[in-house]
Amino acid sequence: MYVIIVGAGSVGASLVKLALQNNHQVAIIESHKERAQAVLQKYDVKVFHAKIAQGGILDEADADKADAIIATTGDDSANLMAMFLGKERGVKTLISMINDPEHQGMFERLGVQVIVDPEVIIAKHLYNFLDQK
């Protein structure tokens, strides 16, 4: 599979590792220069140093050939834009992280699989461990 990951923060970078371990082809779009450099240093992947709002960045990354786009930035508007542009180019699987639960409806209307509020998910996981005791 060819996966485009938007945002190379801690979530994005971990995702790259997982995707590479499963032999997927990966491209990353990251607006922060040092984070982009750090990912490039660690993994042999394509890294684009640009904002998603920059015109044509998804075309540079060959989005029409992508099987999935995963948005992991801390900015919901950037995530939404990535999803919208991905949908326009006919990418089948659209996945996004959402930082503010209020935005969930907007994403779902677009047909995006979402993970809301990652901190809450972690907290739930931790609590589940407690329950199992």
Partner: protein
């Protein structure tokens, strides 16, 4: 005394102290050589070596006492120390040659030794010795006294691994040891500290020297010849004590010499890994050593084909021998290279410009830089195929580096290559005027590349009857090439700026 020292700046004093330290070295070497005179009953050589020891130790001590600890350590200091020491030590190394040559003036034995009465010849021999170049003014080295044969080999053996490497293994210089180590054209550390690194290097060096001598002995060289050629082989020096270098030895000996040359052109870091981890695979783990093996094979094939084209015979062994000898900057020869085609000479010149792996005893640009430049070409093309916002992944020797780091590395390699080629062209332009008319442009390029890469292969230009200007150029080449040019240029510019400021004061 106090007043006299005061006009010297603190920096100059620190440099003097370290140069003084290094100038002790030929003295110690001369003392070590005394038993050789006794063993071979060459008693006339004893005063010559004692004189060398006296001159070296007294000048060394004087500078050492005059000098002072430096408060700051800078690479500039270290480079000046290296440039001055490597420029002055050969003058001391020439003393035994001149002194013994004058001893023979009263009852002449051969022209070979008498030629060293001319100080220029002796100095040339000494520069070729310490820089481990191996160009020689000795017409028939076999006719030299044993003590001088030994002295030539010893100079190369010490010069090959580096005077500074030896000195910081046992003494504490005032300039930062790592910077001195670096200034002598070495940079890789294999232990935590530089002192530990150089001690390890010396252990490896001693081990391999012993192995080389043994190998040459087993393949059929008499002990004395095996000892001398072992010393000059592992140091990739190339002084021989036989008149036609390796020409008249058996095939087994030639193959053994090839093995020694290759050992000498592998970096100490890899030798260390090889000895501690006992895995042969470390020999092609990094790009530099892969390039070494690749170039040995490719060059030999090219040379075979060229020799077949030129003379109708592949000259299997000679092609392999000469190519390895040139690439490893060892400089032994198995044939008279004058008779080879211009293309073959230029091919060998390229090998001599490249040299072996960085961090070994070789001269030349060293393969690390060649690999960098090759990598830079690949990067250049890859950049062109990138998307506008796509970031470039710079990978060097298995490690991913940042863009600024990559351009720093490439710049270093490119600048040195440019300096190397420019200097070679400059030297060739002058040499063409002073060599005998039978030597062509390719001969002159060959000899220049040989001196600059501290190789020592010769088409015959380096002879006692060469014009003094030609000898001077070749000596400069050996000095500058051994230190990778920059330290010597720095010394020249420091001298010029000092003269300027003195003039302004006057």
């Amino acid at each position: 005394m106090k007043i006299k020292i005061n006009w010297l700046s603190r920096n100059t004093k620190a440099i003097l102290r370290d140069v003084g330290l290094l100038l002790h070295l030929p003295g110690v070497m001369a003392v070590v050589s005394l038993p050789i005179c006794l063993v071979f009953r060459e008693y006339y050589a004893i005063p010559a070596f004692l004189l060398t020891a006296l001159a070296s130790l007294s000048i060394g001590q004087l500078l050492y006492q005059l000098g002072d600890y430096s408060s700051e350590t800078r690479l500039r200091h270290a480079m000046l120390v290296a440039a001055i020491s490597w420029g002055v030590v050969p003058f001391l190394g020439a003393i035994p040659l001149i002194a013994i040559a004058y001893h023979f003036a009263t009852f002449p034995e051969s022209q070979t030794i008498l030629n060293f009465q001319n100080p220029t010849n002796a100095l040339f021999e000494s520069f070729a010795g310490f820089s481990s170049a191996g160009l020689s003014m000795a017409l028939q080295p076999s006719l030299l006294p044993h003590s001088l044969q030994w002295w030539r080999s010893l100079m190369q053996w010490i010069g090959g691994v580096g005077m500074i490497v030896l000195v910081i293994a046992v003494l504490e210089p005032s300039t930062d040891a790592y910077e001195l180590y670096y200034a002598e054209g070495r940079e890789k550390r294999i232990a935590l500290t530089v002192t530990k690194t150089v001690r390890k290097i010396w252990k490896i060096y001693l081990l391999y020297t012993a192995l080389s001598i043994l190998l040459l002995r087993i393949t059929g060289m008499p002990w004395w010849e095996a000892t001398n050629h072992g010393l000059t082989g592992i140091s990739t020096g190339g002084f021989a004590i036989a008149d036609d270098s390796m020409g008249s030895y058996s095939i087994a000996v030639k193959l053994a010499i090839i093995a020694v040359c290759i050992l000498g052109s592998i970096s100490f870091a890899v030798h260390y890994q090889l000895l501690t981890e006992r895995r042969l695979s470390v020999l092609w783990q990094d790009a530099q050593h892969r390039a070494l093996w690749f170039l040995i094979v490719l060059g030999t094939i090219l040379l075979l084909l060229e020799n077949f084209w030129h003379s109708g015979s592949f000259l299997w062994l000679d092609s392999l021998f000469q190519w390895v000898s040139a690439l490893s900057t060892c400089g032994f020869s198995s044939v008279k290279l004058q008779n080879w085609s211009p293309t073959a000479k230029l091919l060998l010149s390229i090998a001599m410009i490249f040299g072996g792996a960085a961090g070994s005893t070789v001269g030349g640009l060293k393969l690390k830089r060649i690999v960098f430049l090759y990598q830079a070409i690949l990067w250049r093309f890859r950049r062109l195929s990138l998307q506008p916002h796509e970031m470039m992944r710079y990978q060097l020797e298995g490690k991913v580096i940042t863009e600024s780091e990559s351009s720093r590395q490439i710049k270093g390699a490119a600048v040195l290559t440019l300096l190397w080629i420019s200097l070679l062209i400059f030297g060739v332009l002058i040499l063409l005027h002073v060599v005998k008319p039978e030597y062509t442009l390719s001969d002159v390029i060959f000899e220049g590349a040989s001196a600059l890469g501290s190789v020592g292969l010769s088409v015959g230009i380096s002879q006692p009857d060469l014009h003094w200007l030609g000898k001077l150029i070749l000596m400069l080449f050996m000095w500058m090439g051994r230190l990778e040019i920059v330290p010597v240029l720095l010394l020249f510019s420091a001298i010029v700026s000092n003269i300027k400021s003195l003039r302004r004061q006057a």
